[in-house]
């Protein structure tokens, strides 16, 4: 239950950290951390404007995306390891709920017939093709060494328990793969830039060009929630089970700060070569699995 409260309040707050840290890095003051939350409530009160071409899909897709993402988040361990729902194989449902959210948002983006949105949709969806297998293989690698069955068991702060000293590297590699997935899925810098103002270079932002008001607020919150889910998975994978829960909070903040630092230090990748780098998590997961197989066959 504490998780449910946590995911209602914190996602937007944490996303607010990133511009703040970026601003500090370049010597500016930056907007307050709470600004995102304020924008959210302001957007909820605004009226909406739609394209002439829009069908009911663009009216209701953001709502469905939010409900699907929110329910997926109820399976994910956040502050507490005990999630509201959990059953064997729930990670499949989670990944498919997230892809449901992505699918309906893609349909909503194509709804207005704008050429920009088609571009953004095709870019965002092509990432999915490599991220979905990557997520499955990451999960498979953890299950292979732990035998765990549900998402909360798989990720809940036991990384160093599953993997003995040598194979802790495998666990860390998986965490890195998940971190790259986080960057891609939440459209962060090397792959996409949320701060860009040119439609041609956007990915996630261009998909939601024609949204406004209530639905735009919902979309922003959904995106923040998705980022929060991945960040939480990464930190749970790294943290040992013995440490106290506030370490989790520290690590979450550290992840968000490191995203901000990465953003201020790195430039974006070339748009047409982006997909090659999205393959990275998949490759890391495959390598890790290969290492684990080698161990299984008695290499160590």
């Amino acid at each position: 239950m504490i998780n449910a409260i946590f995911i209602i309040v914190f996602p937007l707050l944490f996303v607010g950290l990133i511009p703040k840290v970026k601003a500090i890095m370049v010597g500016r003051k930056g907007k307050p951390v709470l600004q995102n939350l304020r924008d959210f409530f302001k957007l909820l009160r605004k009226s909406e404007i739609y394209s002439d071409q829009a069908t009911p899909i663009s009216r209701y897709a953001p709502l469905l995306a939010l409900s699907a993402t929110f329910v997926a988040a109820l399976f994910i361990p956040f502050v507490s390891d005990k999630t509201l729902f959990s059953f064997h194989g729930d990670y499949i449902l989670i990944i498919y709920l997230l892809s449901l959210a992505k699918g309906v948002m893609a349909l909503a983006a194509m709804d207005s017939g704008s050429s920009f949105q088609g571009m953004g949709t095709s870019r965002e969806l092509s990432f999915t093709a490599f991220l979905e297998p990557a997520f499955f293989l990451i999960v498979a690698a953890i299950i292979f060494s732990s035998g765990a069955g549900s998402c909360s068991e798989i990720f809940a702060r036991q990384c160093f328990g599953y993997f003995d000293v040598w194979n802790s590297f495998a666990g860390l590699a998986l965490a890195i793969a998940l971190f790259i997935m986080l960057l891609v899925e939440s459209s962060r810098v090397p792959f996409d830039d949320p701060a860009t103002h040119l439609e041609l270079t956007m990915i996630h932002e261009v998909m939601i060009l024609d949204f406004s008001g209530f639905n735009l607020g919902i979309i922003h919150y959904t995106a923040a929630l998705k980022m929060f889910i991945y960040a939480s998975l990464v930190s749970h994978l790294i943290l040992p089970s013995t440490v106290a829960f506030w370490w989790y909070l520290v690590l979450m903040i550290a992840i968000y700060i490191s995203i901000a630092v990465l953003e201020s230090l790195m430039a974006r990748f070339r748009m047409n070569r982006n997909l090659e780098l999205v393959l990275l998590p998949l490759c890391i997961a495959l390598l890790t699995l290969a290492v684990l197989m080698a161990k299984f066959l008695g290499a160590w």
Binding site: S51, A68, V71, M119, T121, E132, F136, F214, F296
Partner: protein, 636 residues
């Protein structure tokens, strides 16, 4: 058996008088009787068993049902009448003299599909099998000349498949001395491979699947719906029949799963590039059959590794996928038939904005799209969920030889699933959303309710079996018991289906909550689509079928065969420039066409004999007599 089959035979009489209404009613009636019998076989101990004594070379023909054929039978007896019903309304637009023969052959096709399930005698089975191929060939033609090439391609491919079957059945007869299917038990490898290949022709598995994308787009929509959702399942029925009576070795299972993976990948990469709506659906049939096969492979691996959970999940997923695919693929084909009738085209680049003009069709098509891309709330999700579970269970196995193939299945399934989702979102977006891309799309309007009736039934079936998958699970339960699998684990799966249903309910409740909140506090306005303040936006600027997959094409094109034609500008003055790119099926263009050209050249050589000149015929006869004389004299 008797009543249902007799009613279906009677249904051929109104067909001869072109009364498609009575034809459909009789089919509904007969299928109801048959469905009852199949259900009885599935859910009780009742056994339908008849012996038909035929003249000697054939002998006693056993006509019987087991749980496997009853499962397919229920599917056929529910799906076929819906297809006929759809066909009744679809054919109203095409009043042609060929209606009589079309209805007749449609009836024969349905009857032979049922017959394939009942007969357990290889010679008679082959006859009915041939009848099924032949009748479906006539159904594809439907009096149109342009269908001839694709139809003939289908017929010839089926003949080659039947030749494999004939060889396999012959070898089995030599080995066991009986024509009965009981002779299939513990086959030698060679006849088994031959029979499996023969059935693969019908099921549509990669190297021999190029008839599907050829035949489906040209066939009338109800025929392509029936063929794609049910007729190709008879091939899969044959494969399951063989697999249920034989134990495969580990390397054979691994090879099989490799074949299915390649098949799915081939199909999905073509699916992404395809512009023809019905051809895209045909490719997706190949993909779904391959996913089913992957489930079967996972199940076989589980059996081989003595992992009951893996076996149960794999087979359950595969059977569910067979059943669900027959629902959603028929739904999508009937839906695209309606689109074809409304717009007169199948090219998705000429459509657009149909959701405004055909709202009901759009809503139902969306449900089908959800199901085929395995998104939650649709039935496709639950079957793939079960197959994923099966692949992951492999980690309890003791040897890497079991783990590696199932890891391959897991990764491939995720990759293929994601690509299929992308492809079908593309299709929905281009057909139904945005601005109309051609005048055909602009003038389209919703068809009569009758055309939407079958689609509506199937959409409801998708939603019901999707949100409450427990219903469908109860349906495959006897089949799993028949395969002698662990029912305790199956009970666990039923529990899980309940859990998933309750999660769905929570999502729906949340959605309803947001919906109400939004309704209460949002005011809407409409305006033009944002185009960077560019004033002259035209529908041509929307993303097309090619631009949409451009980022992925970079990765997928190397695996595909490309044909492109350029017309470049040669003068400095403005001139029309053309670029045409097509991604035809490589097997078809690089193997089937050249080989058939060589064969026909070879046969043309003999055609020269037939030149119409009497003197040359006499010369041939003289030559023949001389040879005969030499032969006879030489023997002396």
């Amino acid at each position: 058996m008797s009543i249902g089959i007799i009613v279906l035979f009677i249904a051929l009489i109104p067909a001869l008088w072109k009364r498609s209404g009575y034809f459909v009613i009789l089919w509904l009636l007969g299928s109801a009787f048959l469905a009852y019998e199949y259900m009885e076989v599935m859910f009780s101990r009742a056994i339908q068993d008849y012996i038909l004594t035929m003249p000697m070379p054939i002998g006693d023909v056993s006509i019987a049902l087991n749980k496997l054929s009853a499962f397919f039978g229920v599917m056929f007896s529910l799906g076929l009448p819906l297809g006929m019903l759809y066909g009744h309304y679809y054919l109203k637009e095409h009043q042609s003299p060929a209606l009589r023969s079309h209805l007749f052959w449609l009836g024969i096709m349905g009857l032979s599909m049922h017959g394939v399930l009942w007969i357990r005698h290889s010679v008679v089975f082959l006859m009915v099998w041939e009848l099924m191929s032949l009748s479906s060939f006539f159904c594809i033609l439907f009096s149109k000349r342009e269908n001839m090439e694709a139809g003939l391609n289908y017929l010839i491919t089926m003949q080659i498949g039947a030749a494999f079957l004939l060889a396999g059945f012959g070898l089995v007869y030599l080995q066991s001395g009986t024509f009965d299917f009981s002779g299939f038990e513990q086959m030698k490898p060679l006849p088994m491979y031959l029979i499996l290949i023969g059935f693969a022709f019908k099921a549509g598995i990669f190297p021999v699947a190029s008839w599907l994308p050829q035949a489906h787009p040209v066939a009338p929509s109800h025929v392509s719906g029936i063929m794609s959702s049910m007729l190709i399942k008879t091939g899969f029925y044959g494969i399951l029949l063989v697999l249920s009576l034989n134990r495969l070795s580990l390397s054979e299972i691994a090879a099989l799963s490799f074949v299915f993976t390649i098949s799915a990948f081939w199909a999905v990469s073509h699916l992404l590039n395809e512009r023809n709506l019905k051809r895209a659906l045909a490719y997706s049939s190949v993909e779904n059959i391959a996913i089913t096969g992957m489930g079967i492979c996972a199940g076989l691996l589980g059996m081989h590794a003595h992992l009951p959970a893996m076996a149960v999940f794999g087979f359950t997923g595969a059977f569910l996928h067979i059943f669900f695919h027959s629902i959603f693929k028929a739904q999508l084909f009937y839906g695209s038939g309606n689109i074809l009738q409304a717009t007169g085209t199948l090219d998705i680049d000429e459509m657009g904005a149909l959701a405004k003009r055909m709202p009901y069709t759009a809503a139902m098509f969306l449900i089908g799209i959800f199901a085929i891309s395995a998104l939650p709330f649709s039935n496709g999700f639950f079957s793939e969920f079960t197959i994923y579970r099966s692949a992951i269970e492999a980690f309890d196995a003791a040897s890497v030889a079991h783990i590696l193939p199932s890891l391959m299945l897991l990764g491939a399934l995720a990759f293929i699933g994601a690509l299929a989702m992308i492809a079908f979102i593309r299709i929905y977006a281009l057909v139904f959303q945005g601005a109309p891309r051609s005048t055909k799309a602009e003038q389209a309007s919703e068809l009569k309710p009758g055309n939407r009736l079958s689609v509506l039934f199937l959409s409801l079936a998708i939603l019901i079996t999707g949100i409450v998958p427990g219903i469908a699970l109860r349906f495959v339960k006897p089949l799993l018991r028949w395969f002698d699998l662990d029912m305790q684990i199956f009970a666990g799966l039923q529990q899980q289906a309940l859990q998933i249903s309750s999660i769905y309910l929570i999502v729906i409740a949340l959605f309803a909550l947001f919906y109400v909140i939004r309704k209460l506090c949002v005011r809407e306005k409409t305006g033009a689509t944002w185009a960077c303040a560019y004033p002259r936006v035209s529908p041509k600027m929307q993303s097309s079928s090619i631009t949409y997959i451009q980022p992925l094409a970079y990765f997928l094109k190397p695996f595909m065969y490309k044909k492109s034609t350029h017309v470049m500008a040669e003068h400095p003055f403005p001139q029309k420039v053309e670029y045409l790119e097509d991604h035809p099926d490589a097997i078809w263009t690089l193997v089937v066409r050249p080989v058939s050209r060589i064969i026909s050249k070879f046969l043309l050589f003999f055609a020269r004999i037939h030149n119409g000149k009497t003197n040359s015929y006499i010369a041939w006869a003289l030559g023949f007599l001389v040879i005969l004389l030499v032969w006879v004299v030489g023997f002396r």
